[in-house]
Each structure stands twice: as C-alpha cells, then as structure tokens.
Amino acid sequence: MKRRLTFPLAGVACMWLAFAAALVHGREAAKTLEDLVKLEAKVEAVAAKVMPATVALLSEKTGSSGSGVVTTADGLVLTAAHVVQGVAEVVVVFPSGKQVPGKVLGANYSKDIAMVQITAKGPWPHVERGESKPLVAGDWVIALGHSAGFDPGRPPPVRFGRVISKGPGNFLTTDCTLIGGDSGGPLFDLDGKLVGVHSNIGLSVKNNNHAGIDGFREDWQRLLAGEGWGRLSLDPFANPEMPMLGIQMGLLRFVKGVPVEMVVPRSPAAAAGVRLGDLILSVDGSSIRNRDELKQVLAKKQAGDEVALGVLRDDKNLEFKVTLARRDKLFHEP
C-alpha cells in the first residue's frame, strides 16, 4: 500500500500489512516426486481459477492500497478490517485493470475482517468460501495479494506454503510470505476455496498471519449491516473475543501443571465442575506444564469450543468438558 503507516504495532516485530499435530485428514502427501507433481498441478489450477476474483482496494482518501477477494456474483468483497479503517468508499481494481467503486460495509477489528460491496452491476468473478477451523499445521495453502501495493505491470503475485500454527483464536499462521499491500488478500486451500484473508506479519518468513474465513460466517449479518466493532490487537490476551475458562491460574514451582487458584462464578469452568485447588495437567490430551503453556493452548481455541480439561484432584485424575466463553462475556453468560 501505499506507503503509509497504518498500524505501528509492536514495532518491527509484528506489522499489519495494510500499508501499510499434524493429524492426517485427507491432506495432500508430499513424500514422493509423484506427490509433488500432483501438488503442483493443484496449485497451478487454483492460481488460474482464483486470480480473476482477487482485487486491489485503493482509497483515494487515505492513499492506502490493500487487497480483497470477491465472493459473490453481485460483488461482495471480503478483506481485512485495517484495510478499510477510516474509509467509506474504495476503488476496487480487478487484475484485468477494470476499476469499479466499492462501498465499505461492516468491520470486526478484533478479528481483522471486513466487507466491501461493489456498487457497479455484476456479475463479477468470485470464489467459493471454505472452512478455516479444520485446518491444521502442515495443510497446504495458496496466497494471493497485491504485495507492496497495486502495480498495473503485474497481476497479484501467487505464493504457496502451509499452515504452520493455529491461533490466536480465529487467526492462523502460514509460511506464505506476505508484505504490505497484501492485507485483506485471499488465502485458499488446494480446492481453491477461500479459507482466510491476510492480516499481519512477524519478523520470521514463517510468521504470516491470516484471519480465518470462519470468523466471517459468525459475524456475517452484522458485517453486511455495516456495523463496525472490536479492537485491533495482536496480543491474544487483550482481544475481547479470546476464549476463557474462567479460572485464575496459580503458580507452583517445580510442579508440573497449573493449579486453579480461583473459579469465576457462573463461568465455563464453574459450570463444568472445576474447583479451587484442582491441578490442570492437560488440555485435549496434550500435557500442560505451566501457565504459559495453558494460555498458549487456550489462545489457539475459539469461544464456543469444547475442551477436555485433565485435572488432578485428591490424587485422582478427572476430566471435565469445558465450553470456552469469550472474555468479554465471561461474566454475563450463565
């Protein structure tokens, strides 16, 4: 984008892009040359298929340049919230060079997702939406976007990589390298289905973060209605949509696990039967050594997810099913 500092975050270590267990589940194998040849054919097919629907979003007002993707024939564009921040109208540019006006609809800044409606008459080239939640580390993904801003001399560059890590919340990290201007651009699975939009990067080339497509589904109506809400933050613990158990974590030196120091009344933990003094040893079967690990594992979940909490109480191993709640709704939900 255009050359402007839209979001100085934690300095250089993490930047928004506007310019501004590998579980086997049908993932393409890459163990033999034959596998790679098949994989390549899929990537080539996806690149050709999704290119026409990948757009640049330019704002005359802020001089910013981001990316987006058309997802309905009548021109509904999905993008990142920080791309359209402070803007009501954008110019939508297709790889063909065709430019049409777009109206900014809603944005959820906590998830860094937003919608733009093309106001010119369609039909427009568009892509199909997939799901982001089932993705796990190792799943192949394809990214497009207007790296370093719109350039009429080339279509949006194609990048290929895989999911490296899930979370926080709805976000996911891949090694598809991104840079300013890619923000809001699409991430696809090998079937060419949209699974996310580009959000921000860390210093490592493996640290490219995307807002998962499932976040749109949950907020669809509010976004369509033009609502703007939430807060842009890379710190998962500051984000109001982060999932919580509703306990205070204690600290025990030299002991593996996390002691429960307090249970918030009417919280998910309380509802599941977790008590003061319980020692949390695992989440969904993976062992938890300390508070940091527990926080890390929870940050990868989303509100509404059920987790199996392995707990030691009176020398007995117990398991509780806890349905996580949003931090900002922890005290309101029964």
């Binding site: 890459a30 290119m51 580390a137 990048r159 090694d175």
Partner: protein
C-alpha cells in the same frame, strides 16, 4: 516445504530470534509436523536437483562466499551475479559440489542484467542444459545448491515481465483523481510527450484505448502496460461535446524519482537480507523462494529437473527474481562487456538506484566517479558495511521492543 529448513540455515544465522518467539503460539506438535513435512518434501525433491547441481558452483573471494554460479557453454564459463562478485577483494575461485576448487577470472560483464561471466582455469565443469519453455503460474521451482540440496523452493508468483521502468511505454499525461468517470480526465499533458504531439489537452477525457473502454486511471495504465515504446495507439477522447479519435506515439518512461516508503522498506527486510541489485532486469519470473544474497546466480529447475532459469536477486520478503532460460540463452549470444573497459562502465550499475534499503547513501549514483576498479571495490565494501550496520541496528531495535 523446505522453507523451514533453509530459512533456519540462511536467515537466522545473522540475528537469530529465540526459537520460541519466532511464532508465539507454535506448539511442539505443530513444529514436529511441519518439520517432518519439510524433510519429506526435500527428500522428494532430491532427484530433480541431481543433474543441475553438477552445474552449480559456489563463488568465493578469500574467505567470503559471494554467490552461486551456473556453468554454461563448454564448461569453462560461469554466470554469476556481478554486483556480488565484481567488487570483491581477493582472488576469485569457484567450488563445485564435489569440493574441487578452481581459480576463475572475470571474462565479461552484462551490466544491464547484473550478470558477470567468469572464465574457469583448469578442467572444465559440467555445463547446464537449458530448457527454454516458460513454467506455468503456480509451477514449482527449486534453486539448487552445489551439493545437490535445495537452496530454496518456491512457486511462479508472476509470469515473465520486464522490470525496467524506462522500457515501459509512456504517453505523458496525468489524470484527475477527483474525476468520477467513466474515463480519464487529463489534469496535465507533458509538453514534449506523445500525448501533446497528438494534440491532447488538459480537460480532455480518454474514453477508449483501441476498442477497450477505459473506466479510470488504473485501467488506462493497464491498457498501456502491454505496449512497447514506439508503438502507435488509437484513443477515443471526448472534449466538451465533441468526440475525437487521436493516434498517440508512445515514448519511453522517463526516470522518475521513487518515493521512499519507510514502512515498506522495513517489511522488505523482514525475513532476511536482500540483494544489493534487485531491480531493473529486462525479463524475469517472480517467485516466492527465499534465498540468501550469497545463494544468487545458480540454476533453477522445475519438477522434471529441467533448468528453467537462473536466480537473479532476492528482492524482499516475498520476492526473488529468476531469469528464464530463453532469456539467458539470448543474452549469451550477445557480446559481454570487456572488464578492461569497466573503468568507464563502473559509473553505472543498473538497478542500484533503488537497490538499497532505507533510502540511504547509494552505492552507484549516476555521475559518481569510479575511475578505477579499486575505487569501485571500496564503494561496494562501504555499502556492505553500511548494510551490515543497518541490519545490526534493526535487530537491536527489535530486541528492545520485545
């Protein structure tokens, strides 16, 4: 992929992040999964690299690794990156995959592409066999190491294109951003341009280029992008009530100052150092492979092991450039510049104008006197030191912020 493996090797050496910090929420099981996948992937790639690796060498000067090189012609010529090799102090030599070392000398320079030809003394090496077809968008590319390992893996991000600004067609008008359209309303017409010669004036609205309706300025730029300077383009223009058709002779785009963009510059450097000369190539494929600057100059193969080009530059976090085999072949048919004439030639190294980050002092400014090879080498070394300092400074800043 791969990237995991090489990046650790190539990028994390200069300023390592604590492994855990690299991706804050990376779980051990996720790390294990992606690492195992990268191993499998690299293992599967091994057979396609074997042949090209024999034609890949590492170029040294003293104890410094400068670049990779590609063995061409009769096995006594090597192509490598001029800006990494040309100014190096110390005797040049190349090391092949089998560990054999041969002395080399600079035999010629293709300045416009930042390529130099090295002449090999002693036994000839194995030359590459070029494959002259362009790979497809999204096609898999692998840069080889001399030992047969992948130097980097990536895909074709953008098909072949010319990065040289001055090779691009230029009509000489500026549009009005506030004009709602359709079409492009001219805010300014440059007096010595093709547009002025065709009689276009301020206030005219361009409606069509050939038969293509023009919705706005970006579309006009796109319509001109495919055209060569020197071509004549009919355009439909409205002036008040009238519509007229004019034919415009396109010129060459003049050198224009590049706006500096501090934030993008920072992002470009996120992910590792970039090549000193990384722009203005006449025909390149863009790839997302992540190479170190001292891994530039070697062959790139497709999944059939065919050499589709050579690496030209690591441009930034997301981009490396590859010169396609057909273009290399064509280049080799032309006569390179004799290094003895480099006294004059050293004045200009193409692409260096924007080739350095942060908009700092540039290595070769037009008009800068570099009257002898020593002096030129000093400039290059100064630049290297400056870049090292900037890298160190960035790392320090990051650590403070953490």
């Amino acid at each position: 992929m791969n990237k995991a493996a090489y990046l650790l090797l190539a990028w994390l050496l200069p300023g390592p992040l604590p492994a855990q910090q690299e991706i804050p929420l990376l779980r051990p099981e996720e790390r294990q999964a992606v690492d195992a996948q990268a191993d499998d992937f690299n293992h599967a790639l091994a057979p396609v690299l074997a042949t090209a690796a024999k034609s890949t060498v590492r170029v040294w000067a003293g104890k410094r690794r400068l670049a990779y090189g590609t063995v061409v012609a009769d096995g006594r010529k090597i192509l490598t990156k001029f800006s990494e090799v040309g100014g190096a102090a110390g005797a040049l030599r190349v090391e092949a995959g089998d560990g054999a070392v041969r002395p080399v000398t600079i035999a010629g320079v293709y300045q416009n592409e930042d390529i130099t030809v090295l002449s090999v003394e002693g036994e000839p090496l194995v030359p590459v066999k070029w494959f002259n077809e362009e790979p497809k968008l999204g096609g898999f590319l692998t840069a080889t190491q001399p030992g047969g390992q992948p130097a980097a893996f990536g895909v074709v991000s953008v098909l072949e294109r010319n990065l040289r600004e001055t090779d691009k067609a230029f009509m000489g008008v500026q549009g009005d951003w506030h004009f709602a359209g359709p079409g492009v309303k001219l805010q300014e017409v440059r007096p010595d341009s093709g547009a002025a010669a065709a009689g276009l004036r301020q206030g005219d609205v361009i409606l069509r280029v050939k038969d293509r309706p023009i919705s706005g300025m970006l579309e006009l730029r796109n319509a001109l992008t495919g055209l060569a300077p020197g071509s004549r383009v009919p355009m439909t223009v409205s002036r008040g009530e009238k519509q007229l058709t004019v034919e415009i002779l396109l010129g060459n785009r003049p050198e224009m100052p590049q706006l500096s963009n501090g934030r993008l510059n920072v992002m470009e450097q996120m992910g590792g150092p970039t090549s000193r000369v990384r722009d203005s190539f006449s025909n390149v494929i863009q790839s997302d492979m992540c190479l170190a600057p001292d891994q530039i100059g070697g062959p790139v193969v497709d999944l059939q092991g065919r050499v589709v080009g050579i690496t030209m530059a690591r441009a930034d976090r997301t981009r490396s450039f590859v010169m396609p085999s057909a273009s290399v072949t064509k280049l080799l048919e032309s006569q390179p510049l004799d290094p003895a004439q480099m006294k004059v030639a050293a004045r200009e190294v193409p692409g260096s104008r924007r080739g350095n980050p942060q908009g700092q002092q540039e290595p070769f400014q037009p008009g800068m006197e570099a009257s002898d090879p020593d002096r030129m080498r000093r400039h290059l070394e100064d630049m290297q030191r400056l870049m090292d300092r900037m890298r160190a400074e960035m790392e320090r800043l990051e650590q403070q912020q953490r």
